[in-house]
């Protein structure tokens, strides 16, 4: 039998099959202890939602005027921005051509990165732009679904590992590219051993 909390979660999320739901609700009616356990679980789970938070309403009253001020400023500065943007675009095109004419590689990127290193935000922005993408999920949802379907691999640590890998993939990819083949193999073997240790068959 599955862990009780798992069934409680699925029941509260309306994810039990009609048959399972029937059995569950019958158990609630027949078994007082089970009912108490469920009610306690439900209460705890819902306690995360803080029903009413006292806030300074002035903040929400001033949100729109503040945003409107910024919208006004944006409109006003759009022309000025364009005037600045034009030479930046021209310089950008020249730089782009120069970089590619010099066979752009990772060393060029390092140089470029170093040249930006005096400005924190620029570094963050640069890396974010270079390594971010809307499709930055290396492991797709179909695979996650398949894993979810296979009960025996429905192990939280595997799932968390996948979820975390998916998210940080862009940074990790950059790091992996910095490793020599020997270092890469060392890390790979280490990971392989770790996975075997974590995945005890129950």
């Amino acid at each position: 039998m599955k862990n009780k909390s798992e069934i409680f979660i699925k029941y509260l999320d309306n994810e039990l099959s009609p048959e399972e739901k029937k059995i569950f609700e019958k158990k609630l009616l027949d078994d007082e202890t089970f009912k108490t356990e469920f009610n306690l679980f439900k209460e705890n789970f819902n306690s995360l939602k803080i029903s009413k938070i006292d806030v300074n309403e002035n903040y929400f009253n001033s949100l729109l005027p503040e945003a409107r001020k910024k919208i006004g400023q944006t409109k006003h500065t759009n022309f000025i921005k364009f005037a600045y943007l034009l030479p930046v675009i021209i310089i950008g095109i020249i730089l782009f051509k120069t970089i590619f004419n010099n066979n752009f590689n990772e060393n060029n990127f390092e140089q470029l990165l170093n040249s930006y290193s005096t400005n924190e935000d620029a570094v963050v922005e640069l890396i974010d732009n270079v390594y971010s993408s809307d499709q930055d999920f290396l492991i797709d949802n179909e695979l996650l679904e398949q894993l979810y379907e296979i009960e025996n691999i429905n192990d939280e640590s595997v799932y968390d590992y996948l979820a975390e890998t998916v998210l940080t993939s862009d940074i990790e990819e950059y790091l992996i590219n910095q490793l020599s083949e020997e270092e890469f193999n060392m890390v790979y073997n280490e990971l392989l051993n770790k996975n075997f240790n974590n995945l005890e068959i129950k």
Partner: protein, 182 residues
């Protein structure tokens, strides 16, 4: 009904009514703020995101195609902005650029007037931050915002099956963390 009203406001704004825009924002500003706040965990960042989202809505709403609901569209913008901020924060901490002083300021300013509420919210945030970001976003949208999986799928662009799996694991982990605290 609600969807029609939103669409009506959007159409009115496109036709030139600034009042309609104000009404739309007043309706959704708390939703935007609290969603951003749960995602990023503090007032200052949530405030920044909320302002950004309002500006984006103002600038982009004229291109709104009515393919999804306005609510879903607003959530999507808020979600993207929040995830961008989280990603930038991760890169900053990876490069050790985020000073602890900055963090302290971010956590000291707040709009919550009740100390107990603030403490409780911080505890919830701590637990949420222990989840992988994908689980965290689904858990927030499902548990706190009470959206259905179809809506969440439209916001996140992920399959319903994957979302259900994420929510299940997030819930299990959160309950585990709550039990450990007792």
């Amino acid at each position: 009904m609600e969807r029609n009203l939103d669409n009506e406001l959007v159409n009115q704004f496109i036709a030139g009514s600034e009042k309609a825009f104000n009404e739309l924002i007043r309706k959704y500003q708390k939703t935007i703020y609290w969603h951003a706040r749960r995602m990023v965990g503090n007032h200052l960042d949530a405030d920044e995101i909320t302002q950004q989202v309002i500006i984006v809505i103002y600038n982009k709403i004229k291109n709104f195609k009515f393919k999804s609901s306005v609510k879903t569209w607003i959530y999507k913008i808020t979600q993207t902005r929040s995830l961008n901020l989280i990603r930038k924060r991760k890169i900053k901490s990876f490069l050790s650029l985020d000073s602890s002083e900055k963090k302290d300021v971010a956590y000291s300013e707040d709009i919550i007037t009740n100390f107990e509420d603030k403490e409780k919210l911080e505890k919830v945030n701590e637990m949420l931050n222990k989840l992988p970001t994908k689980q965290k976003e689904v858990f927030i949208l499902r548990h706190f915002e009470e959206l259905n999986y179809e809506e969440i799928s439209k916001i996140t662009g992920r399959s319903i099956g994957g979302l259900k799996a994420n929510y299940f694991h997030a819930s299990k982990k959160i309950m585990g963390l709550m039990n450990n605290e007792k």
